[in-house]
Symmetry: C2
Subunit: 214 residues, 2 copies
DNA sequence: ATGAACATACTACCGGGTATGTTGTCAACG
DNA sequence: CGTTGACAACATACCCGGTAGTATGTTCAT
């Protein structure tokens, strides 16, 4: 559906706030990031933030959701592709890692949100909103889990504990949100080389080994 | 050197505070964990904390350092062992992962500290103390890096970018601090099985592959 | 002139840090 | 051997800066 001009402007302002908030949450963590920080980084004041979002928790949830939307969007072209699991997994993983690099602040916010949920660091009223987001993310994880299972059936992946393997795989694929930072003069090709190293490492843990001795 | 009875008692109290603080930092993060929380979890008040530690930052630094001390202690038996890199790496990695599981609160605090340092979320006066801790941790990482290099020379490991590989490896080995939680009726053998899965996954990313095509 | 999109001004509260009590223990002294 | 005083190991009470949230202007486009 088309947005009117006014709605378009309002939506742009909303996205600007989300981006600034994501960066603040990444830089200082949820608790230490203040609404004033977010506003200041926009050259604005609290009034602007609270006009669009009812509370800090809701602002954070919006950042979380936007990050997850980006995730779905990135892997959507591949999830319904038929054929063997390995090449599809490679494309999904590559898209995922590149997204981690390209939208680091949002992905860090997602991470923070998951961590908070695991710790139970949410107030009861936030709980329902958060549960939806966590389920949203869980379903995203399912896309990879299904591919992992198919790959195991096909004999290209080797693992016995799906849950742990999935954790380790995502840990690897997500890790650039912590250690990646762009180098001066870095080209897109350079970024893709880095992403490929991450994907290859993650794949190594999934593939059959040549040596199995301790 | 032997401690007197009084010193022994004081040291025990200090360790109790460190343990409680580690748990609070893990459960709420650095910013959201209050000194009152730590004290409350000990059935005490702020006075006790501030009698032993001059500030929240110093308390956190002590938790960090204690966590790193545990790390060094765990891998120390292996670092000077001669012989091929692979078995030594396996032992070091296994000891590391088991420590992540056994001392999760402290290791989470170490993680939080590293993250804060990377974000520059430290005040100037904390900076010098923090830099020491980060260097302390960096040297610990060097123990693994050296083994990685030796393994590559021996032909058992395959990677081109040492820095990225090291990041990915540690990310995998550290990951239990996020997703591990003990199951009811879990035995030590069960824990070691989990740890072995982690080590194997990390090793998979280091080993030579059978297929290199995209 | 009406409401969206902000800015300004203010309140309430929480948490780090401090200043000051209180209690038990040990050591030296008479 | 009892007394005392000095200090460690806390608890209590308080201050104060920062922050989430609110209430109320102000401006501008439609």
């Amino acid at each position: 559906m088309a947005l009117s001009v006014r709605e378009q402007i309002a939506d742009n302002s909303r996205i600007d706030i989300l981006s600034a908030a994501a960066k603040c949450f990444m830089d200082r963590g949820y608790a230490a990031a203040s609404i004033d920080d977010v506003a200041r980084s926009l050259g604005a004041t609290k009034g602007r933030i609270y006009h669009h979002f009812p509370s800090k928790a809701d602002l954070f949830a919006a950042v979380f959701k936007h990050g997850m939307d980006l995730n779905y969007e990135a892997v959507r072209p591949f999830i319904d592709q038929p054929g063997p699991a390995l090449p599809r997994w490679r494309r999904m993983a590559m898209a995922h890692v590149l997204l981690m690099i390209d939208t680091k602040p949002f992905q860090r916010a997602v991470w923070i949100g998951v961590e908070m949920h695991l710790r139970g660091a949410t107030t009861p009223e936030q709980r329902s909103v958060f549960n939806e987001l966590i389920e949203y993310r869980h379903n995203y994880g399912m896309l990879f889990r299904n591919t992992l299972l198919q790959g195991r059936d096909e004999g290209v992946f080797r693992f016995d504990d799906l849950s742990i393997t999935n954790q380790l795989m995502f840990m690897t694929l997500n890790s650039p949100i912590f250690w990646y930072s762009p180098r001066v003069g870095e080209t897109r090709a350079d970024v893709e080389v880095v992403a490929k190293k991450v994907v290859d490492y993650a794949l190594g843990g999934l593939s059959k080994r040549r040596e199995e001795s301790a």
